[in-house]
């Protein structure tokens, strides 16, 4: 019996965002957009979904005079990501 994959993470863009955030302290929206190649609108929607699930936190602030949105993975997000990778490995092995 295969474990159920977390549907929230089983989406290309959300998984890419989580994969970036799992390896860094925090990342701003511009960096995530550049790394994933997503459009601003789509990325915003996916970030909101991850935030609503408690997988990431989003902070809006300013860097100098420029607005800056910073995303950070939470402990719950880290745990979900690890569980997801573990489940994927079981599918493959």
């Amino acid at each position: 019996m295969f474990p159920k994959l977390d549907p929230l993470l089983h989406s290309e863009l959300r998984l890419a965002v989580m994969s970036i955030l799992v390896g860094v302290d925090e990342a701003d929206f511009t960096y995530l957009k550049k790394q994933t190649g997503a459009t601003s609108g789509n990325l915003s929607v996916q970030i909101d979904k991850l935030m609503a699930a408690g997988y990431i936190t989003v902070e809006k602030g300013f860097k100098g005079k420029m607005p800056r949105t910073t995303c950070k993975i939470t402990a719950a997000g880290q745990e979900a990501f690890e569980g997801y990778v573990k489940a994927l490995k079981e599918y493959i092995s």
Binding site: S19, V22, V24, L88
Partner: protein, 194 residues
Amino acid sequence: MEKSKEQIEEMTAAKSLSLITETLNNSRRDILRNSSKYFVLWGCLLTVMSLAIYLLWHFTGSPKWNFLWFAMPLGYFIAAVMGRHDKGMPQNEIGRILGNIWTVFGVFSVCISVIAVFLVPLHVTLLIVVILGIAESISGAVLKNWPVIIAGFILGVGGALVAVLVKSEAQLLLFTLGGVLLAATGLTVKYQYR
């Protein structure tokens, strides 16, 4: 032939794992490649400063030019200005560890210099070249890069020996070598993560 649900899920799982690996690697590579410019900055600064002080001391015969070393922390301001152009580049564990290693090196160097100048006479060149070598080797270990580890060892251990054998301004050339090695470390990191 129609694929079973398990086969489709297996392919999706493989694709997902591949996406995770690729994204993690890309992000790690970008961050480390970006950090390489700070190695180059400090390496160039150390090379230029040590050569300038060496030449000034050599041609004027005055060791007072060593006070110019206290201008080295200016490098932090240059680094801060460079950091503004990073465009939201995040920090990861390795980048933070490297930053901490070199911050500790900077603090130790300044403190040792202040003690040597104002409190008790210490062999500043010997002490700083040893900790410079240690910082370089630890950076190499963090980066899993043997040439950097060995360069640090040669600089620290060989430099300590040379610092004792060589007198006055010629000792400064050890820092020139250290600066070149530091800049070379930066270029190695840039090459390693291009």
